[in-house]
């Protein structure tokens, strides 16, 4: 039953994700062509830096919005009359949504990985050697893990906000605007603290500080910054708290109007 439920969840919005996959690959190909056509070194570095970071933020932001819409449309509103009356426990409903979001996340990460492979061909050009775009190597594993922690945190907090708004506490104590603002603010604050991309951007600011990993395994560059294990642990802890709080609300406090 759970597998069947997961199947239906994965099919939701499949067109959108295939389109995103194609968009990322095409964008990387266009980017590689554009860099070779750049007039000078500074222009090329500027375009690459802003494009890659901006595109990554855009893609992940779009992913977050789409997942929020997926949960809102498939679990609440009129569709909630179907979702909550299925012979599927609330825990499995929620876990299926999280698993689906994770599968989509990995699907997009694979697209980004392929895009980096395409862009890496630009490293053969002299002027691109100082660029902070990571090379395709095992160094990307910590990057993946760091983004995965942010993703889990963001998804859990979003699930919690949406469920709170549709619970017995929702209509008169936690209006949608309030919960949306708190959730988005929490996600943004955590993301900026964890990655500190803004500090590392050559266009947007000077070089920021570097934090050595607590395990003393050496410095692993992630876009020129470092992911603090303590921030990761905090993100995971808050993510799990939000997830189980959501499960409790779904099980005991749902109020579908």
């Amino acid at each position: 039953m759970f597998i069947k439920h997961l199947k239906h969840d994965l099919l939701f919005g499949r067109t959108m994700f295939i389109a995103m996959f194609v968009f990322i690959i095409v964008g990387a190909i266009v980017g590689r062509i554009a860099f070779h056509m750049a007039a000078d070194e500074y222009q090329a570095r500027s375009v690459l830096d802003v494009s890659v970071m901006g595109s990554l933020a855009l893609i992940l932001g779009f992913l977050a919005v789409h997942i929020s819409q997926f949960v809102e449309k498939s679990m609440f509103g009129d569709s909630g009359y179907l979702a909550f009356t299925l012979p599927v426990s609330r825990g499995r409903l929620l876990f299926s949504k999280l698993l689906t979001a994770w599968v989509w996340f990995d699907f997009i990460i694979i697209a980004i990985f392929i895009a980096l492979l395409i862009l890496e061909g630009t490293y053969s050009v002299e002027i691109f050697r100082e660029i902070r775009v990571p090379r395709v190597s095992l160094d990307l594993i910590p990057l993946y893990l760091s983004i995965a922690v942010i993703f889990f945190f963001s998804v859990s907090v979003t699930f919690f906000g949406l469920t709170l708004h549709n619970s017995v506490f929702g209509k008169w104590k936690c209006p949608g605007f309030f919960t949306s603002t708190i959730c988005l603010g929490t996600i943004f604050g955590y993301s900026v603290t964890a990655i500190r991309l803004l500090n590392r951007s050559q266009i947007l600011g000077p070089n920021g500080g570097e934090v050595e990993l607590g395990l003393h395994v050496g410095r692993i560059p992630i876009f020129g910054s470092y992911f603090d294990l303590y921030i990761a642990a905090l993100g995971l802890a808050i993510g799990f708290i939000a997830y189980f709080a959501t499960w409790y609300l779904l099980k005991k406090r749902v109020s579908l109007q």
Binding site: K4, K7, D78, S79, Y81, L82, T85, P87, R253, L256
Partner: protein, 234 residues
Amino acid sequence: MDNILEVKNLVKSYGNSVALNGISFSIPKGKIVGVLGPNGSGKTTLIKIVMSLLSGYSGEVLIKGIPPGSEANKIISYLPDVAHLPPWFRVNEAIELFEDYYDDFEKSRAQQMLTSMKIPFDKKIKKLSRGMQEKVQIALAMSRRASLYVLDEPIGAVDPASREFILDTILRNFPEDSSIMLSTHIIADIEPVLDIAIFLQEGEIFLCDEVDKLREEKNTSLDQLFREVFRNVY
């Protein structure tokens, strides 16, 4: 156990407003029960509690001895008063969805019903008219061999000709040992099919008895009785 549904001292409030005020009743096997009342009387609140769509209530609700939840949903077929099928689904995908989730769903029966309703299988739900969406939902709900059918305003959103068709569909596809609980405020069309009537007024049960008995005692039709009882509400 002869009662499919048992409700005891059910109380539900929304803030300071009491939606259900300690109601108690039971639905025996093989009966069609109408929950009748004006808008705001508590009909939909009652149904949502049975379907575990609302929490924060006191009292007891048991469906064949099982409290509302995912286990009870296996034996209840529900038709809400909203368009609850995913609008991006096609009709045949909705049939597959029901087949995946419900062991008691009869796919061939659903296909037969939808064919007789002249509903195209490859059309998206959102492209169908409201009346056709309602018919799709009815066909899917009545294609299950459930113990209890909970129908919330099944004829509220459709034209008079369609109402007759829907009622006929419900009666022809309703297993003899199952029960139906349906809510409505359109009494005249429903009256001929009801076995038991529950009149809800401001969250309390005003009347609860067999329809034939009520007609004999009050010497009037159920529709006329409804109009008399709730005249002051309007």
